[in-house]
Amino acid sequence: MGYFELMGFGPKGWGLLLAQATLMTIAVSVTAFAIGAVLGGLLAWARLTGGRGIGIAAETYLTVLRGIPDLLVIYLLYFGGSSILTSAMRWLGNDGFVGVNAFAAGAIAVGIISAAYQSEVYRGAFGAVARGEIEAARAVGMGRMLMFRRILAPQILRFAIPGLGNVWQLALKESALISVVGLTEILRQAQVGAGSTRQPFVFFITAALLYLLLSTVSGWGFNRAEAAAMRGVRRA
């Protein structure tokens, strides 16, 4: 069987399964990135405006999540979550092992790692907003919420795009680790194919190509978004 027949959409081809797995990779990475955006935004806000205690707590979060392996975070959420769930169910009178959902555990794990990186991006972007604009907004009597919505948020997002592009690529690549807890995304599907056809090289090369495709297309998308967002900014 030739490569294109094996990876095609015919009766013996793996094309459809790999396409579904690619959609799963996209779904889990986007979910993780969104979790990271919310959590990262809150962390950046805590570090910029919070008191000393909150600042130290946020700093600790960053140090821990950037210092321990991503695989360990996934294991901790998946197996730790499952053991908590199992004992909770036992307390309710239901014996036997209860596993958490691999998608949820994986997305949350990659999301809380992404949050650590995203908070740095947002903090840097906040620093790039001209101080005079904030003063001007205060001078015209804007409230804090209105100032955030009209002045800060749009500009922070604009300056954050390049950094967010990098963090997105990290989330995309970290999503491959979720395969170890059994989520059928690209790498897991490639493993299954490699096992049943005994052609591991072909399947893992295909997986690599799919990741390259995803990262190239999304990199191009972020470049377009950056160009669009920066069109009104004069740069040195």
């Binding site: 405006t49 991503d70 695989l71 999503s175 680790l177 790498l187 490639a190 090289f201 997986a207 690599a208």
Partner: protein, 236 residues
């Protein structure tokens, strides 16, 4: 909180530290040498050297490390030519496959870091060296490399920390480093949270020590920088 269990776990996990350090040290040091060569290829201005290096960096940074590990460990064995070659006694072992994958991966990231460092050397210095009659090689050895590496050091420190985190993936191909031992302990004791938290603490300690060592090296390598006064508290 079962302190005796935590202490036993911690000691058991420490048994994986030598493996972790070996994987990191070998891949980072071989990767550094390869990265200098690739950075020079990128900067040579010769498209025949530049484009292969660019392609290498693109491929290895655009795909997940776990895919690269699987491709080398499971994928290469698909070909009888490789199974009969003299490299097979090495490529058959998960240890050498992990080292190969980690080395190839860190080389790609380090290439960009070193390229950035080399580009930061002021051109006036190179002009001055030429005016003194230094040869190209001598300029590289005495002027460009020492200063470029010094500038690249902080980013390189981050890369070393990322590599210690990445060694955890070697556990997926059965290597018994810290994460591998932790997974084994979890399957024996079913106490996922305590065991993985202990493993996380070990990674944090190692990464803290590495970041201190890099900071020390930075200070040692910049004798021209006068001891800085204590930084004032940044205005919030």
């Amino acid at each position: 909180m079962d302190l005796a269990f935590l202490a036993d776990t911690f000691v058991a996990l420490l048994g994986g530290v030598p493996m972790l350090l070996q994987l990191t040290a070998i891949s980072v040091s071989v990767g550094a040498v390869l990265a200098v060569l690739l950075a020079l290829m990128r900067l040579s201005g010769n498209p025949l050297l530049d484009y292969p290096a660019r392609g290498y960096v693109f491929v290895f940074r655009g795909t997940p490390l776990l895919v690269q590990i699987f491709l080398i460990y499971y994928g290469l064995g698909q070909f009888p030519e490789i199974r009969q070659s003299i490299a097979w006694p090495f490529l058959r072992q998960p240890y050498w496959c992990a080292i190969l994958a980690l080395t190839l991966n860190t080389t790609a990231y380090a290439t960009e870091i070193i390229r950035g460092g080399i580009l930061s050397v002021p051109f006036g210095q190179i002009e001055a060296a030429r005016a003194c009659g230094m040869s190209r090689f001598l300029i590289f050895r005495r002027i460009i490399l020492p200063q470029g590496l010094r500038t690249a050091l902080p980013a390189y420190g981050n890369e070393i920390i990322l590599m210690t985190r990445a060694t955890a993936l070697a556990s997926v191909i059965t290597l018994m480093e810290v994460t591998g031992i932790a997974s084994k302990l979890v399957s024996e004791t079913f106490r996922a949270i305590e065991v993985f938290a202990c493993a996380g603490a070990i990674y944090l300690i190692i990464n803290f020590l590495i970041s201190r060592a890099v900071a020390l090296a930075e200070r040692r390598l910049s004798p021209q920088a006068a001891p800085r006064p204590a930084a004032p508290e940044p205005a919030r």
